[in-house]
């Protein structure tokens, strides 16, 4: 059993306002997790904490994490608006030596190949999300966290995301999704963390 994130009595908030109180979680590699909860229950905060993107107050909670690669596709896009799609891909995939042919194939799959030289700021929200999913597909991180996975995506986009999550499961990579209710995108869920409790 190899854990990539563990925390006992995890408490998170912004300033003095508590969002998550005393949550115990242990997340294992190659297993899928789902975070559910109503608006304001702390889904985004928790997913940001897991992906090491949280900058609020962690009240000195005891957090242990391994050095596995974790990637987050959140409500705020990570792509750089002033750069073109291909420039963004080159920047975000600088560590992985991915063949250009492979990049083009993946972009074709996500129907983004004709927007290679367009700036991200000209993209619709759905296109930005598709681009981030395509980068996640190319990067293939150990852990992929997606906040509100279905938001902005059309039916075709949801289908592509579904395929990616299935592929990741068969390859033994972890995926963590957060949404208001069960998103039915993950086939085998190790644990569903309900923040309404």
């Amino acid at each position: 059993m190899s854990l990539f994130f563990r925390s006992k009595n995890l408490t998170l908030g912004y300033g003095n306002q508590l969002v998550i109180r005393n949550l115990n979680i242990s997340l294992e590699l190659s297993k899928n997790y789902e975070i559910t909860g109503r608006n304001g229950s702390g889904k985004t905060t928790l997913i940001m904490c897991i992906s090491n993107n949280f900058i609020g107050n962690d009240f000195n909670s005891n957090i242990e994490r391994n050095s596995n690669s974790v990637m987050e596709i959140g409500s705020i896009p990570s792509l750089i608006p002033k750069l073109s799609l291909i420039d963004n891909i080159e920047y975000f995939l600088h560590k992985e030596n991915i063949d250009k042919k492979n990049i083009l194939n993946i972009l074709k799959k996500y129907e983004l190949d004709s927007f290679l030289d367009d700036q991200i700021e000209d993209f619709s929200s759905g296109m930005v999300k598709r681009s981030e999913i395509a980068i996640a597909d190319l990067k293939n991180p150990d852990v992929l966290c997606i906040d509100e996975p279905k938001v902005y995506l059309d039916e075709n986009g949801i289908g592509l995301l579904n395929d990616l999550l299935k592929k990741r499961s068969t390859e033994g990579n972890s995926s963590i999704l957060s949404s208001q209710e069960n998103s039915s995108l993950l086939t085998s869920i190790e644990r569903s963390i309900n923040l309404n409790d």
């Binding site: 992906s51 090491n52 993107n53 900058i55 990637m71 987050e72 705020i76 990570s78 002033k82 600088h94």
Partner: protein, 211 residues
């Protein structure tokens, strides 16, 4: 420590960001051209006034450059994690890219100001270039450091914090530009180099000690 792809990305963003190069530079150029006419009604100003105003322009231009595109802490952390870049690499690469963008602009500004006012500094070109280089490196590092570890509520807060520090850096340039003898100029340059190294060491220590 210094990554080419970060510098390339920063240069691309700068080139496409029309609030910096295409707005600040022309604004400052207009000010430089208009100022001598407004102050003394001719294209020539006194030597004493020239030095003070040139320093003022340098501080003003550096401040405008620093507040042109403030970093968003949340966005930056997301970007760095998404691209698997550590903060130290980003800091130094960003410092270099800012210097490459800023230094030629500052030199052009100083030359333009000197040209339009028909006045010059009483120091050698090497000393002027080196003193401005040290000023730029220090200003960029301090600005980035403050942006990395402080969440500014607005550009005004950033402006208020940064300007006194820039004034301090500019005061060190004044004796060099006044034309003191070569030995004292060299001492001032070494002192400026020392300050640059202290700031570099402090930022390096802080960047490596924070998670």
């Amino acid at each position: 420590m210094i990554k080419k792809y970060i510098i390339k990305k920063e240069m691309n963003v700068e080139f496409r960001n029309n609030t910096s190069l295409f707005l600040i530079t022309p604004t400052m150029c207009v000010l430089i051209i208009v100022f001598p006419i407004l102050s003394e009604n001719r294209f020539r100003i006194d030597n004493d006034l020239f030095l003070i105003v040139e320093l003022l322009f340098l501080i003003m231009f550096t401040t405008l450059f620093s507040i042109r595109n403030p970093l968003n802490e949340q966005q930056l952390i997301k970007e760095l994690n998404f691209a698997s870049i550590n903060k130290t690499d980003y800091f130094y690469s960003k410092t270099i890219s800012e210097l490459v963008i800023f230094y030629p602009q500052v030199m052009a500004l100083l030359i333009l100001f000197s040209g339009f006012t028909n006045t010059s500094l009483n120091s050698s070109l090497i000393y002027i270039c080196l003193s401005v280089l040290f000023f730029c490196v220090n200003a960029i590092m301090v600005n980035l450091f403050l942006q990395f570890f402080t969440s500014f509520n607005s550009r005004f807060v950033q402006f208020t914090l940064i300007v006194p520090i820039y004034i301090g850096f500019a005061i060190l340039i004044a004796p060099l530009w006044l034309g003191v003898n070569q030995e004292i100029s060299s001492i001032y340059l070494v002192m400026y180099l020392g300050i640059t190294l202290v700031i570099y060491a402090f930022t390096n220590f802080y960047l490596r000690s924070t998670k």
